[in-house]
């Protein structure tokens, strides 16, 4: 299996409404930055894996709407309708396979453009659940009540993570400034779906993220600054209402596979970037991934994570981009000391149905 490295990262500024740019322009911001970082031209890329969701983009085959900026005409472009960390695992396997050598992984989403309730409701089965008019917040409320009642998450500590994420966001130049809040402000924000409050949900966001990944011989030929992907795994669980809220088997499966591939015991990462749309999930996922909640804003989500403001589709790939910057020592005010090994996590689907875990290191 060929070694694969990330050699370029790019992120647009993520903000609640990027009314200044259309989807392709938003994605171009991240592409330009990633290509510049890798020291290559768009034409050098031999394949691309893009991530987007049609319902958010308001058009079908939404990947073709960014084909020009991705530069994928007459090349092997493929697309995932999921968090883009799945696109990374796909693009990684293409290069690990030996078939390709230089790939572009792209993610974009504007949560500001569609009706989020209607988009989320369309994900439910049309025969029974959709008629009841539920959305992501309903699923989160149902799960959170169980998690809090059975000690899998803690109401106050979950709120504290939101406050910590917003504080971290102030050190992250890739997200728009957010109002600083304390735990009480989270708990007193308007009801979302009991026991959750509106601040428990990650803020609405528009943004993009792009990685350039390369084979080892390409890394050498380009004299690039690589961060090596040493483990990558995805796992899909049962449909949300067939899965117990406390059942973390899906994430455990992705974690175990990625760590085994990397040859790590569970707690060797210097940085862990966890993606979760709701505060209580952040607690649940952090526990499975071995992140220490008391390190929030430090070794655990130094970027602030999704609660600093990354949209769906993009959030997981942003976690990878942040880990790469940490390992390269380029994370600015959010840099943690001695970051040599990192874990990035992404999640997608109703009630966190599918998880991905990627391990990264300074050496292959």
């Amino acid at each position: 299996m060929a070694q694969v490295a990330v050699i370029g990262v790019g992120q647009s500024v993520h903000a609640p409404e990027r009314n200044d740019v259309a989807h392709a322009e938003l994605l171009q911001e991240a592409i330009d930055e990633a290509l510049d970082d890798a020291g290559i031209e768009l034409a050098d890329i031999d394949n691309a894996v893009t991530a987007s969701l049609d319902f958010y983009d308001g058009r079908t085959i939404a990947n073709m709407a960014v084909a020009e900026v991705v530069g994928s005409y007459l090349k092997a472009e493929s697309r995932v309708c999921s968090d883009a960390i799945h696109a990374l695992t796909y693009g990684w396997s293409r290069i690990a396979d030996g078939q390709f050598r230089l790939g572009l992984i792209t993610a974009h989403c504007k949560e500001s453009e569609g009706n989020l309730h209607d988009i989320e409701n369309a994900a439910f089965d049309p025969f029974i659940e959709r008629r009841l008019d539920a959305d992501d917040d309903v699923v989160a409320g149902l799960y959170a009540r169980t998690a809090f009642a059975h000690g899998a998450a803690d109401r106050e500590n979950a709120a504290a993570l939101v406050a910590a994420a917003r504080a971290s966001a102030s050190r992250n130049p890739k997200v728009a400034p957010l109002e600083m809040v304390d735990t009480a402000a989270v708990l007193e924000s308007p009801v979302l779906a009991t026991p959750l409050r509106t601040l428990d949900r990650a803020p609405r966001s528009d943004g993009s993220c792009v990685l350039v990944i390369a084979s080892a011989d390409t890394v050498a030929a380009l004299d690039a600054d690589p961060v090596w992907i040493t483990g990558a795994a995805i796992s899909t669980g049962r449909y949300w209402s067939d899965r117990h809220p406390l059942d973390m088997a899906t994430l455990e499966s992705a974690r175990d596979e990625a760590l085994a591939m990397a040859g790590w015991s569970s707690n060797v990462a210097d940085v862990i970037e966890v993606s979760a749309k709701y505060s209580f999930q952040l607690q649940q996922f952090a526990a499975v991934l071995g992140a220490d909640e008391s390190d929030a804003g430090g070794a655990f989500n130094p970027s602030g994570g999704r609660h600093a403001g990354n949209p769906t589709v993009v959030a997981g790939l942003s976690r990878v981009a942040e880990c790469v910057e940490q390992i390269r020592g380029r994370a600015g005010d959010r840099q943690v000391s001695r970051a040599e090994k990192a874990i990035a996590h992404g999640v997608t689907g109703l009630g966190a149905q599918a998880h991905a875990v990627v391990t990264m290191e300074t050496a292959a």
Partner: protein
Amino acid sequence: MTLSEELILHQKINLPYRYTAGTVTETFLEGLTERTIRGTRCAACGHFSVPARPFCPVCSEHTSSTEDVEPLGHLESWTETPHESGSRVFALIRIADADNVALHLVDADPNTLEEGMALEPQWTPDPEAEITAIRAWRPIRET
């Protein structure tokens, strides 16, 4: 760039669908018109699903034969969400002795709800072959 320079186009996509229920889901939905709730038991692994469904979520076996179940639910979880009508209480309900839970609404003060509480369906006067044939579930009053 200032806000006044940003051009936003407002559009709506109208996409009507006709969803074929399929044999097993049809049996479940038709049952509702007779105030009957149906489940499916997997012949391969024994997993019991309510509502009835065409495939086993545990072992993927086709589950084609349905059985009528007792119209009794137990409350697993609930959430109150703001709504233009005031608020709604969504719930996860374990119906009969199912191995899975079902999403529906509960008609009760959420502050009176308890995990494991027994619930019964409130049927609409003239139930149609839709999940909304059950208007909501409500706690069974101890007598």
